[in-house]
């Protein structure tokens, strides 16, 4: 399937590279493209080097990692749960992470490292809780996908309540900070954050790609999968955990960036990819492109302010998705 659509891949890679260069070359301060390229290699005047290397490059890299992680997470979950509405935040990741972060904000913590840690811890607790509930409630001790979805939704609702209680009487700047965090932003990009995120995304992504055949089989249904010799429970659980890890890592690094994980796998499927190995690769590439483009829009559309990344991903993603949907219909 890959070979006769190889021009799709070339085009996707080209678009990704162009978007990344645009992301590094564009910003409030004008830096000519030639200087940008020189600055990337470490020559030219020091202020251009600083702007390109310390300000823009980390944002582009962070945005690309977030997009790749969320899109792969979404693709794996949609396949395993056999549900096109599945998305990375489904298993309570977003709610749990938001509770962790918001509670940290409410206690007056504003160090981004601690907030990231609190968000990750919150997401981990929520996902484990959802998996445990699904397992306890599932038929004969098995994790039933539908129960899992319900558990995720309910935990999400509970998380929302906790967030509202924490923020109801918080000082204005705390509320603004917490809301900003919940709307997602790549503005806090540092090489340290990128390092941790890259490890999680590359590790988790590689593991999912390794399990891609299992996802293919699980996508056929539990019984056919069992008939084909897949340990359904174990594989599914591993995939849920890996997907949740990817999502939680992105949330810890940049808050909630909605829509990417839901939509990108569909876009890639419309392009003709059905098997999960190429689907995961393709999702990573398109997801990265979408979020880099969205971050570029977020920091340039309304100067001198920045827009929330999560809102921009949705604004950019929806028309693209609808166009694809029409073409496919």
């Amino acid at each position: 399937m890959i070979d006769h659509r190889s021009w799709h891949w070339s085009l996707a890679i080209l678009v990704f590279v162009v978007v990344c260069i645009a992301g590094i070359a564009t910003g409030a301060i004008r830096v000519p493209v030639a200087d940008v390229l020189r600055a990337l290699l470490g020559s030219g005047d020091t202020s251009s080097i600083a702007i390109v290397r310390d300000l823009r490059l980390p944002r582009v890299v962070l945005a690309a990692l977030i997009g790749a992680g969320l899109a792969m997470s979404g693709a794996a979950l949609q396949g395993t749960l056999r549900n096109g509405l599945a998305e990375p935040y489904l298993l309570g990741v977003s709610g749990g992470a938001a509770v962790g972060a918001v509670v940290a904000f409410a206690f007056g913590i504003s160090n981004s490292g601690w907030i990231a840690l609190a968000a990750f811890a919150g997401a981990a607790v929520a996902v484990l809780l959802a998996l445990l509930v699904a397992r306890a409630a599932g038929r004969g001790g098995r994790g039933d996908p539908r129960t899992l979805l319900m558990a995720g939704v309910v935990i999400g609702a509970f998380a929302n309540a906790v967030i509202m209680v924490s923020l109801a009487n918080a000082p204005p700047n705390t509320i603004r900070g917490a809301l900003w965090w919940m709307m997602g932003s790549a503005g806090d990009a540092s090489w340290q954050t990128i390092g941790v995120l890259a490890l999680s995304i590359v590790g988790g992504g590689a593991a999912l790609i390794y399990l891609a055949r299992d996802i293919d089989v699980l996508a056929l249904g539990e019984e056919p999968a069992a008939a084909l010799g897949v340990d359904v429970d174990r594989s599914a659980r591993t995939i849920y955990l890996l997907s949740a890890l990817l999502a939680a890592a992105t949330v810890a690094a940049a808050g909630l960036v909605g829509f990417v994980g839901l939509i990108v796998p569909h876009i890639v499927r419309y392009a003709g990819l059905r098997r999960h190995r190429p689907l995961l690769f393709g999702s990573a590439l398109i997801g990265a492109t979408l979020v880099v483009a969205a971050d570029l829009a977020a920091r340039t559309l309304r100067p001198p302010a920045e827009l929330p990344l999560g809102a921009v991903t949705a604004i950019l993603g929806v028309p693209f998705f609808l166009a694809q949907l029409r073409k496919a219909a």
């Binding site: 910003g27 409030a28 301060i29 202020s47 600083a50 702007i51 310390d54 300000l55 823009r56 504003s110 981004s112 009487n169 000082p171 204005p172 700047n173 603004r176 900070g177 900003w180 965090w181 932003s185 503005g187 806090d188 540092s190 090489w191 920091r299 100067p303 001198p304 302010a305 920045e306």
Partner: protein, 297 residues
């Protein structure tokens, strides 16, 4: 008989005098209009007052009416005596019942959209409610005057306003001949929030002999991007102790020439954080930070 006539005359004159005096006392303002456009009748001197705005709480204490406060916001830190007044919450969308439970005769509210409903409810419950904006220096003077009028102490109110005005004007006079370096005020880091021309803090920078790089923005607290700040290249970055700590640790801020040159000014956020009775002190503090060599109290 003549004695009696004189007495009658005296009584008549006194009566007339009293009538005139009473009329005089009432005419300056029998009623006034607040920032929600509500009309507040100046009635008998209120003895139970709730202030749901840290700035008006400061004013109450400054004009000597602090002992009549029966409620304040959670954020009222100054003066220290304010801590003894019962805490009635954040002051935005207040708990109506909690406020009415303090049985106030006058409520002082911050006039933001969030509080419109509360003002209407307090008024419906028969409580005089004065809603005032306190975003700019002129708002402070107006608030002081109106509160003085309502609590029945116009003389003290005038004294307070005059003293603040005097110290502000003295700072302005001293800095008027000095160069006006550009200043970026770092309020919050994620999102990056600064102060716009609509804020009294932008006015304070101007009085203290600086230029706010976002003074062109009409809003009170605009959100900006770090790259835009670097582009506007402020000479100084003003922030609180926590913000300074973050700026020093963040490699992104290291690009800004002001940070490279160590021109990060740390202010006492409690002092400059309210458009109230310490505005003069705040102006002095800022001027001595922006012009360490040329400005002397």
């Amino acid at each position: 008989m003549p004695v009696l006539r004189t007495r009658i005359l005296v009584i008549a004159f006194v009566a007339l005098g009293v009538a005139c005096a009473r009329k005089d006392a009432q005419t300056p303002a029998t009623s006034l209009t607040d920032d929600f456009g509500d009309t507040i009748v100046v009635g008998p001197r209120p003895t139970r007052i709730v202030s749901l705005n840290p700035a008006t709480t400061e004013i109450m204490f400054a004009i000597g009416a602090g002992d009549r406060l029966v409620g304040r916001t959670h954020w009222d830190l100054y003066p220290a005596a304010a801590a003894k007044v019962p805490d009635l919450g954040t002051g935005i969308r207040p708990n109506i019942e909690a406020v009415l439970g303090a049985r106030p005769q006058l409520v002082l509210l911050y006039a933001s959209v969030d509080n419109r409903n509360a003002a209407q409810r307090f008024r419906a419950a028969g409580v005089n409610t004065l809603s005032l904006k306190t975003d700019r220096i002129e708002h402070f003077f107006r608030a002081t005057q109106l509160i003085g009028l309502l609590v029945g102490d116009t003389a003290r109110a005038k004294l307070v306003a005059d003293s603040v005005r005097k110290s502000i004007e003295s700072v302005r006079a001293k800095t008027s001949g000095l160069p006006k370096p550009t200043v970026f005020w770092h309020i919050w880091d994620a999102p990056l929030i600064t102060i716009g021309g609509g804020s009294y803090m932008s006015q304070l920078i101007d009085i203290a002999g600086g230029t706010n790089i976002y003074g062109d923005r009409p809003d009170v607290s605009p959100q900006v991007s770090i790259e835009d700040v670097i582009k506007r290249n402020p000479t100084y970055i003003i922030t609180g102790p926590e913000g300074a700590d973050k700026i020093k640790k963040d490699p992104k801020w290291a690009i800004a020439p002001a940070v490279k040159a160590g021109r990060v000014i740390v202010v006492d956020t409690a002092l400059v954080g309210r458009p109230a009775v310490r505005l003069g002190e705040a102006a002095i503090a800022l001027a001595s930070l922006i012009h360490p060599k040329d400005f002397t109290r």
